[in-house]
């Protein structure tokens, strides 16, 4: 598609429940990035993919967070056993090139609220 599509827009989970977010990158873009935005300002890098391969996962909290980008499927970000501090807006971005080389195109974000 012409835009990065993220679903759902809003997700509410009780503490300890699982949350799964989806992202369809722009067609033809090889790179997908996940960011976490807390307090409406700070962007924290989580993970990036080059096609279906993990490119950089230095920002991922490894214990409960996982992500995949499988061929012919939306990319996904899954949080097992959510905690209150996971409440944030999660943004997906795609790019033709890697980080910092070209423009990142962002989706509208998925707001996760953990109660």
């Amino acid at each position: 598609g012409e835009e990065v599509a993220q679903t759902p827009k809003h997700l509410v989970r009780g503490e300890g429940q699982k949350a799964k977010l989806y992202c369809a990158p722009i067609k033809g873009h090889s790179y997908v990035f996940w960011y976490q935005q807390v307090l409406k300002n700070e962007f924290k890098f989580l993970i990036s993919f080059q096609n279906e391969n993990v490119f950089d996962e230095t920002g991922m909290p490894k214990e409960r967070f996982s992500a995949k980008c499988l061929p012919n499927s939306p990319c996904s970000l899954e949080i097992q056993a959510t905690k209150l501090e996971d409440s944030a807006v999660y943004f997906c971005a795609s790019s033709q090139f890697g980080q910092g080389i070209g423009e990142l195109f962002f989706g509208e974000g998925s707001r996760l609220t953990v109660l």
């Binding site: 409406k40 962007f43 980080q99 910092g100 423009e103 990142l104 962002f106 509208e108």
Partner: protein, 110 residues
């Protein structure tokens, strides 16, 4: 970790005023991008600067990359309510890692 510090964090001004937002680091970046984010949306790229000392203009917005490629500024002339939003700088450092600054939330009152 390469940190990008933006200042001010918040700015509320009247329509017609000028303003400057700063993005500073102790690290050198190969390029620096500025994004604007409006409520309920993802950030949108405004500009990329790659050369030390480079100045780019986008209508009323002027972007400058420091000579040493450690800092950048965004100057808005005659701000308008439509300029309201969150401005984010993002620098590319070693390993092509993109680091975002903490953001400057701008409100322009009519």
């Amino acid at each position: 970790t390469q940190l990008l510090k933006q200042s001010p964090q918040f700015l509320s001004i009247q329509e017609g005023e000028n303003l400057t937002v700063y993005c500073n680091s102790s690290s050198v970046f190969s390029s620096l991008q500025w994004y604007r984010q409006e409520p309920g949306e993802g950030p949108v790229l405004l500009v990329t600067v790659v050369t030390g000392g480079e100045v780019k203009k986008l209508k009323r917005l002027t972007f400058q990359f420091g000579d040493a490629r450690k800092d950048s500024s965004l100057h808005i002339t005659a701000a308008q309510p439509g300029d309201t939003g969150l401005y984010l700088c993002a620098g590319t450092g070693s390993g092509n890692m993109l680091t975002f600054g903490g953001g400057t939330r701008l409100m322009v009152k009519p």
